[in-house]
């Protein structure tokens, strides 16, 4: 053995407890792994460790995440990928291929029967109670059929048992997850460690996804050739939301949530900025019982009321079909052998884990007698019962479990406790044997199933643990199948390319708010920096507002962040302003603070994540990093906020630039830009009102005008254009009317008008609608102002007219935002009929 591998694997074999995928019982590298191990050797132990780090960094930057339920760290937990891939030997591969196709076919037949004639129940091949007591048996779905195979997608977890054979551990039939991660794993590993692939011909994954698209096209209603396909996600809080967004962009289909879709006239429609568009096929990642609150769970907000009606009418197809979660009933495992015989007169090629369903007396007694050696599971996947190993229970716990089983036996199974095989995982600078599970994916194509030449391999997060799930922090591996020289033609099907790309209303709303929050942070940061710099000039000592102008600036901060009362009328706070400034920057639960807005921004960015390129996502990751630093800033170190806010603004501006480039001329960009412009105008008007409405003495007015120009980034252009000392008339001319100045009110409104007219044009072919007229009205109002008249103070030194003008435009812009909201963004809330208390019967 080479020295580098030795460095990594000194303790490997002493930690060995089960069969290992890579090393045989004599600690020799198995044939299929030899080339990989040689490549690792060539790379060297140190370098492999570096690549592992790089891999994690790349995934983090690309925003590859797996959300954890109940994780207080917030939405995105990075996805873990090991630098050492998992190799599936050629003989295993052909066995899996045959076995999984057979299994997929039989499960498809079972599904067909359960929602059809139920012969399996009548012939007692599957016990009636096992089906009827499972929440996945959805009666409203009875007799609904897809053309062709009933299970377009299928996946199963496989593990190698002590006898060296691969076994099926569980089936995933309603919305199998993980194939997007498999793809991402491959692309990350081949980018970071291409050396590992040398001498290998690793089968490519792309072909499988083409077949997936084919499969979805095949189920389209009336054999439509160019169907509109959408991916239905429960939303950004779902654990695999990253994957939903990733797959949607990879497949070129639209990512939607339930509220983006409606059923009307027996069809399903997507609500877009340009109106309703018909949907033909739904690839769903929402659990079936949440898909239609009218006929399934009425408390669901994730589905489409009336969906089942449209499905029955044959106007929309859903993959996998509603009701397919019945096949995830673990109790079925105990009866599949008979079902294979019934449908095929064959035994299963791949054995499955031995399972005893407690709904039968003899089996229940067996489970209770052998509880020490069995794993006890509930038949419901999302049930309240968590899988336990009998061997790990105390006497009292065991008694309690037995009581539960006896009380409602049909809800439980016992399964053999199997020592899975291990494979090497790079952990804390050395290789460690970890239990390994392979998730394999199949897709229906015509009369056949096609298997992904790869898969998602996951390893237990802790040594010796059998629990391999992403919820518990599992580590994944790229999965290699040797393609043996053959190269399958990869045909690209991009059905949505021929279709007009649509922007769902919810995505439009998210993009609009990304624009608004971005600009809100940029403007607030800029002004706070000016104030902070002025406050801390004197050697960073905490000084109060010692001048009139400083007080006005602090009050402006309060107005900009909408955190009244704040500095308004609070002499104490004005005398000691830094703690409040610190709150305004760092305190996440202070509505209006930069931190608060930043969290909102990141949430909106995340919700629209299928819209961002990898490069944009990298910037978002950097913004996250800056956020973490701002969050821990101590009040005493507030001066560092200067740098952090500077960096934050920089990143946000690059993000805007990136968005400008990658969303070129789309509805998405229009919404984003309108959000930016609306916020910009509102922030400017707020500044004008705070700073300009009162006439002050010359020196204070000078300082304030300077700050105002600085925060609008207009100070130098002012000097080059007007070449006079600071005076309110030319300042207002520059800030309000100057068409050359991109941040002038006039320029902003001009931009807004252009976008509003674009929208109107796309919607109805004319330039004019309620919204564009509203913008035009604002635009004209600004165009027609008489500056000298407006800035003339009254007898109390107040510029009432200026203030009134700003209020007027502010109101118009608020109104505009509301109109955009009601016209383009989806806000359908619904509730069950007779919701309050249900209705009473009386006799």
């Amino acid at each position: 053995m080479q020295p580098s591998l030795q460095n990594l694997s000194t303790e490997y074999f002493t930690n060995q407890t089960a069969i290992d995928e890579c090393f045989d019982q004599n600690d020799q590298v198995r044939e299929a792994w030899k080339k990989l191990i040689a490549n690792i050797d060539t790379l060297g132990a140190e370098e492999l460790k570096n690549r592992n780090q790089e891999l994690l960094k790349l995934l983090q930057e690309n925003g590859v995440t797996y959300n954890m339920y109940g994780d207080s760290n917030g939405l995105n937990r990075p996805w873990l990928l090991d630098a050492v891939p998992f190799i599936l030997p050629a003989n295993d591969w052909s066995y899996i291929e045959r076995g999984m196709k057979q299994r997929a076919y039989v499960l498809n037949k079972i599904l067909d029967d359960i929602y059809g004639d139920r012969i399996l129940i009548k012939e007692k091949i599957i016990p009636a109670e096992l089906i009827y007591s499972h929440s996945g048996f959805l009666r409203p779905c009875d007799k609904i059929k897809l053309p062709g195979l009933q299970l377009p997608l299928y996946s199963a977890d496989l593990s190698r048992g002590p006898n060296g054979h691969l076994w099926v551990i569980k089936d995933r039939t309603q919305a199998p997850s993980g194939m997007g991660y498999a793809l991402e794993n491959r692309s990350a590993l081949s980018r970071v460690a291409p050396e590992l692939f040398q001498q290998h011909q690793v089968a490519k994954l792309g072909g499988f996804f083409n077949s997936l698209m084919q499969s979805l096209i095949q189920i389209a209603p009336q054999g439509k050739e160019n169907p509109r396909i959408v991916l239905l996600t429960p939303g950004p809080r779902n654990e695999t939301y990253f994957e939903h967004a990733f797959l949607a962009s990879y497949l070129g289909i639209t990512l939607v949530q339930g509220e983006d879709l409606i059923m009307r006239d027996s069809f399903v429609w997507i609500k877009t900025v340009e109106g309703l568009e018909k949907v033909d096929v739904i690839l769903r990642r929402v659990d079936d019982m949440f898909c239609d609150p009218l006929e399934l769970r009425e408390d669901s907000q994730l589905g489409i009321p009336g969906l089942l009606h449209a499905i029955r009418k044959g106007n929309v197809a859903v993959a996998n079909p509603l009701g397919s979660s019945i096949l995830e009933n673990v109790g079925l495992m105990a009866f599949l052998h008979n079902a294979f015989q019934f449908f095929l007169k064959e035994d299963p090629i791949i054995p499955m884990i031995a399972t005893w369903w407690c709904g039968q007396k003899k089996e229940m007694d067996y489970v209770i007698d052998h509880i020490d050696t069995l794993v006890i599971k509930g038949i419901e996947r999302a049930g309240s019962f968590k899988t336990v190993m009998g061997s790990q229970l105390s006497k009292a716990q065991k008694d309690d479990l037995i009581r539960k089983i006896k009380f409602d036996p049909s809800k439980y199974v016992g399964q053999e406790e199997v020592a899975f095989s291990t494979s090497p995982v790079l952990y804390k600078e050395r290789l460690d044997p970890r239990y390994t599970v392979l998730r394999s994916y199949l897709v229906a194509n015509g009369d056949n199933y096609e298997l992904m030449r790869g898969g998602l391999t996951r390893c237990s997060p802790e040594k010796g643990s059998f629990l391999v799930s992403n919820q518990d922090g599992g580590i994944s591996k790229d999965t290699w199948v040797e393609s043996a020289g053959e190269s399958l033609p990869v045909i690209h099907h991009a059905p949505d390319m021929k279709r007009k790309a649509v922007l769902p209303s919810r995505a439009a709303e998210n993009l609009f708010w990304v624009g608004r929050y971005t600009q809100r942070i940029v403007r607030t940061s800029r002004f706070i920096r000016i104030v902070l710099r002025a406050l801390t000039q004197k050697g960073f000592v905490n000084t109060g507002a010692d001048s009139e102008s400083m007080k006005v600036m602090l009050k402006t901060v309060t107005n900009l962040t909408d955190t009244l009362p704040g500095f308004i009328e609070d002499e104490e706070l004005l005398a000691n302003p830094l703690p409040e400034i610190h709150k305004l920057v760092c305190q996440a639960d202070y509505p209006g603070s930069i931190m608060f807005t930043l969290n909102n921004l990141l949430r909106s960015m995340y919700a629209a994540r299928d819209r961002w390129t990898v490069d944009s996502w990298r910037i978002i990751d950097e913004i996250e990093n800056i956020k973490r630093r701002i969050a821990v800033l101590e009040p005493g170190n507030i001066r560092y906020a200067l740098t952090l806010l500077d960096q934050l603004t920089g990143r946000l501006l690059s993000f805007s630039e990136m968005t400008r480039q990658c969303m070129y001329r789309s509805d998405g960009r229009t919404m984003y830009r309108m959000g930016l412009l609306i916020e910009e105008i509102l922030m400017e008007l707020s500044q004008f009102r705070s700073i300009l409405t009162e006439k002050r003495d010359e020196s204070n007015e000078f300082q304030l005008l300077e700050a105002l120009l600085l925060s609008n980034q207009n100070l130098s252009s002012y000097r080059s254009v007007y070449r006079t000392s600071l005076d309110i008339v030319p300042v207002i001319d520059l800030l309000f009317l100057n068409g050359q100045n991109p941040t002038s009110l006039f320029s902003q409104l001009e931009g807004l008008l252009k976008y509003a007219r674009n929208l109107a044009q796309k919607e109805s072919g004319v330039n004019d609608n309620e919204i564009s007229r509203l913008v035009f009205e604002c635009y004209s109002t600004v165009r027609l102002i008489d500056i000298p008249e407006m800035v003339a103070p009254d007898e109390n030194g107040k510029r009432i007219k200026l203030d009134e003008f700003c209020i007027h435009v502010q109101n118009q812009i608020f109104n505009l935002s509301m109109k955009l909201n009601s016209k383009y963004f989806s806000h359908s809330t619904y509730q069950p009929q007779g919701n309050k208390g249900g209705f009473q019967f009386e006799v």
Binding site: I121, L294, F407, Q831, G838, F839, F841
Partner: protein, 290 residues
């Protein structure tokens, strides 16, 4: 007996509803013991989409969708029905089948593939130790299924007070046992729960009951109500009805609309409205002999 039924349901919404989908389970079944001569359902505003469909249990469902703004929904269901006196209860009374043998007897029979679901928990009917305890004394070992069912009906009738306003459709049966109050669906759910907890197949019956005014008074319009009761499965005889709310065996003044595992399957009106405002509901039922 021939009955004319008029069942009017009116929802009033505080805010405009722009889209509504409803599933109505209001068309009475055709059965050996009753013939539905006519049924008409009028919905206002007039639905933009409508469809009749037979559900998993054999009931007729009427789906209606409304795509225009409305602040009121009216559902007027009228039907004309001939009801024959039930004969099953008479036969069941003579059945020697012991309640504890029901499950094993049933398991041998072909209809088990269908009836098995009425032995199992359903959305409003859980397996529960409390429920088991509550009904223990009605299930005496060695007693017939008929006697046990009657004892249970009587026990529920005497333990529970009929009192509207204390429970909703979502009140669990365990709570009903503690409250000792409820309406007919609570009585029915509790009886079904007790039966299933003892391994007896029971289903929920949704329908109407003819009521009689106090002596010497005239019957008030709209004073009847939709009603719910229970059917117990006797192998070889069929479904035998029990009305625990009134402690009686339905004869010919119970009119059946639909069967299900519980209220969830056969709620007279179930729907989704697109609105976030509050709503009010008013139900009037008239059952008239003709």
């Amino acid at each position: 007996m021939r009955y004319q039924i008029k069942h009017i349901t009116e929802y009033k919404y505080q805010e405009l509803v722009n889209t509504a989908h409803n599933r109505l389970c209001l068309v009475p079944l055709n059965l050996p013991e009753q013939k539905c001569l006519s049924s008409s359902i009028k919905v206002l505003p007039v639905p933009d989409e409508q469809e009749y469909r037979t559900d998993f249990f054999g009931n007729t469902l009427y789906f209606v969708s409304i795509y225009k703004e409305h602040n009121k929904l009216e559902v007027i269901s009228e039907s004309l029905i001939d009801v024959l006196p039930r004969i099953q209860s008479g036969i069941a009374a003579g059945s020697p089948l012991l309640w504890e043998n029901l499950k094993s007897t049933l398991a041998q029979r072909d209809e088990y593939a269908e009836v098995a679901q009425y032995l199992l928990p359903s959305p409003y009917v859980p397996y529960s130790l409390e429920i088991q305890k509550f009904a223990e004394d009605c299930f005496v070992p060695g007693d017939t299924l008929w006697n046990a069912s009657n004892a249970l009906m009587k026990k529920i009738f005497t333990s529970l007070e009929f009192k509207p306003g204390f429970t909703t459709v979502n009140t669990p049966v365990e709570t009903v046992v503690k409250l000792k109050k409820g309406v007919c669906q609570d009585f029915a759910h509790l009886m079904i729960a007790c039966l299933r907890n003892q391994g007896v197949a029971a289903r929920y019956v949704s329908g109407y009951l003819e009521t009689f005014p106090p002596p010497g008074k005239e019957k008030l319009v709209g004073s009847d109500a939709s009603h719910a009761w229970v059917a117990v499965y006797f192998p070889g005889i069929g479904w035998v009805e029990f009305d625990p709310t009134n402690n009686l065996l339905p004869a010919d003044n119970h009119i059946i609309v639909a069967f299900g595992r519980d209220y969830f399957d056969v709620a007279p009106i179930k729907g989704i409205i697109f609105s976030s405002g509050t709503q009010q509901v008013d139900v009037k039922v008239d059952v008239t002999r003709v």
